[in-house]
């Protein structure tokens, strides 16, 4: 199933992803704490979701017909907030100025009470898939198997250490929830190190298959790949779908890429061996994003 994506759509998605990355880095610098690597690694998928895939209306966040997006690994909310702000759910400037600050819409982990447009308040890992399963069950009770609304569950790879997640996977398989699409950020890092050293997840594809899910693997930085496989997931009728999205944590900032040290650290917060001095980290990260790693000379420079 090959997708036909217009060149202008592809360029738009690339631009959006880059804007999302720059904004989230600026917000993290302002906050002085928060997660960097995961949000950067998921920026392409969030751009594809909010600017191409999701059925939603930023002007009417409570629109009943909307698809639901549950962010289970709430700690990567800098990318959720950034994508939502660029899509029109909130002010980009307000986000950059107030992330993680007292009274902000943009809490350290998403909270509906402060930012009503997020579908769930989340953070503790392993429960988001359950919530998405609940939404998918309710959708099917109300609208049968052809409702046309899809429930997306965005998961991390390391949260698959948690038993609760597999309880949800088992129920979704039993209930054959074709309206449920999980996307796993397979970035291979967690706080204490690489996932395969901390608690090996492989063979991950076979695990999901054994729970009766339709499993696909994609390059999480290739828009054609992302869109094509989400389309396939939407076409699968009698099983829930999971997309194992292989991503590069820290994507777009060379000194952060594939380095678990940047999992829970923002630029500018601390000096770390082998990394640029803390006073330089923010500037270097933004410069690299603005020039796409030196490939273009940005007009913003």
């Amino acid at each position: 199933m090959k997708v036909h994506l217009h060149e202008k759509d592809l360029r738009m998605l690339e631009e959006k992803a880059n804007e999302i990355r720059q904004t989230l880095i600026e917000a993290l610098i302002g906050a002085g704490s928060g997660h960097s690597a995961g949000p950067l690694g998921m920026a392409d998928i969030f751009a594809a979701l909010f600017f191409y895939i999701l059925r939603h209306d930023p002007k009417n966040p409570a629109w009943e017909e909307r698809d639901r997006l549950v962010l289970s690994n709430g700690h990567i909310c800098p990318v959720l907030y950034s994508a939502m702000a660029h899509a029109g759910y909130a002010s980009v400037e307000e986000y950059k100025k107030t992330l993680r600050k007292f009274g902000t819409k943009f809490q350290g982990h998403p909270h509906r009470q402060y930012f009503g447009a997020v579908e769930t308040s989340s953070g503790p890992l392993g429960s988001g898939l359950s919530q998405a399963v609940g939404m998918a069950l309710a959708d099917r009770m109300d609208r049968g198997r052809s409702s046309g609304r899809f429930i997306y569950a965005l998961l991390s790879d390391a949260e698959e250490d948690a038993g609760n997640l597999w309880e949800a996977a088992m129920l979704a398989g039993k209930e054959k929830l074709g309206n449920l699409i999980a996307v796993v950020d397979r970035n291979n890092i967690q706080i204490d190190g690489y996932t395969e050293d901390i608690m090996p997840l492989e063979p991950l594809r076979q695990k999901w298959e054994a729970f009766n899910w339709h499993v696909q693997e994609i390059d999480g930085h290739n828009f054609l790949d992302i869109i094509e496989h989400i389309n396939e997931a939407k076409a699968v009728f009698s099983k829930p779908s999971v997309i194992l999205a292989h991503t590069i944590p820290g994507k777009g900032v060379s000194f952060m890429e594939r380095d678990f040290k940047w999992h829970g650290t923002p630029p500018g917060a601390s000096d770390m061996p082998g990394e640029p001095p803390k006073g330089e980290q923010g500037r270097l990260a933004l410069e690299e994003l603005r020039t796409l790693g030196g490939r273009i000379i940005s007009e913003h420079q």
Binding site: V70, S121, S130, Q131, G163, N164, A168, L171
Partner: protein, 336 residues
């Protein structure tokens, strides 16, 4: 001594008083709530008959989800269904829900402000022979501490039915505590019930707010019956007492508790639960602020349960009628 407006079971103190498990009232209440509102759904973790959810399942199979032995999923799936406008009731044994899945209840239900109703069955040591692993005596403490949570501990099956139907009509996350064993039926269909309202079930002063009492007994759950029997005995011995049935532990009826203390100056709290953090603690929190007075706590003293017959266990862990009686005498003495 039983206030007329309480409309209690006239056979309350008879030897052959009718006995029905509190959980049965939940099952009937859920069925009625389901008939009244199609948004009501039922989720159960492999204990459908035991928690009496089978009445709902049999009538509304399309609105019932069998979760298997997966209580964390039970809570979080219910949160997702509530996000789509459903009113989910979830059931298991109290030890596992809200026990095992406490964090999912805190985060996905209460923190998310989702209208999920948690019915925990087999609470208390009166579960009996199953032993301590299955006797939830910490559930009131861990639920009442969570912001937004409403906590109800009905005294009999009829009150459990009313509490269940009332909970279905609110938007609050709610915990309903149920017991396994047959329990004397104290109330009737006409007994008033409202979430948040305590009710006077025995009163030597017969509603006169100026008359003095020797002691006040604040009780919750199945032990309300024992509290009433103790009150009757004290009354026959010439003591003036009042029994307050406090079925809603959160939000607690502060006015009724303050009035109880003001008139009696000495309070006994009665619950089938750990003393630490439970119902007695909730009462004490109110009295420390509103009307400090001597309090005696009937409940489990920092111990786990074990196998045995329900009555035997209640005696062993200090919750028998004799102990409630002694506590009342003791608290009266402490007044002077």
């Amino acid at each position: 001594m039983i206030p007329e407006e309480a409309k209690l079971n006239p056979k309350l103190f008879d030897k052959d008083v009718e006995q029905v498990p509190i959980r049965k009232g939940f099952g009937e209440g859920l069925l009625a709530a389901g008939e009244a509102d199609k948004r009501v759904v039922g989720l159960c973790a492999d204990l459908t008959e035991s928690t009496q959810m089978h009445l709902f399942r049999n009538k509304f199979p399309e609105r019932f989800v069998e979760m298997g032995v997966a209580e964390q999923n039970l809570a979080a799936v219910a949160s997702g269904m509530a996000a789509m406008g459903k009113i989910p009731f979830i059931t298991s044994y109290a030890m596992f829900s809200p026990g095992r899945n406490w964090e999912q209840i805190r985060t996905t239900i209460c923190y998310n402000d989702r209208s999920v109703k948690i019915a925990g069955s087999h609470a208390g040591v009166s579960v009996g022979p199953d032993g301590g692993t299955h006797q939830a005596i910490e559930d009131l403490a861990i639920t009442r501490v969570i912001p937004r949570m409403v906590v109800i501990s009905p005294c009999d099956s009829i009150e459990a039915k009313k509490a269940t139907m009332a909970a279905a009509k609110t938007t609050s996350p709610t915990y309903i505590r149920l017991a396994r064993e047959k329990t004397p039926v104290i109330t009737t269909g006409e007994t008033p019930f409202e979430i948040g309202q305590a009710a006077v079930f025995f009163d030597s002063s017969l509603g006169d707010p100026t008359s003095k009492l020797d002691a006040g007994i604040a009780a919750t759950g199945a032990l309300v019956y024992k509290a009433l029997k103790v009150a009757k005995r004290l009354s026959e011995e010439g003591r003036k007492v009042r029994v307050l049935n406090i079925s809603t532990i959160k939000p607690i009826d502060e006015k009724a508790i303050a009035a109880l203390a003001r008139q009696s100056g000495a309070v006994v709290t009665v619950e089938e639960h750990q003393i630490a953090g439970g119902f007695g603690s909730a009462v004490a929190e109110v009295l420390a602020r509103e009307y400090p007075c001597p309090i005696e706590f009937i409940g489990v003293h920092n111990q786990f349960g074990q196998s045995g017959k329900p009555e035997e266990l209640l005696e062993h862990y200090g919750m028998g009628e004799g102990r409630i009686y002694e506590a009342a005498l003791k608290v009266m003495k402490r007044k002077s």
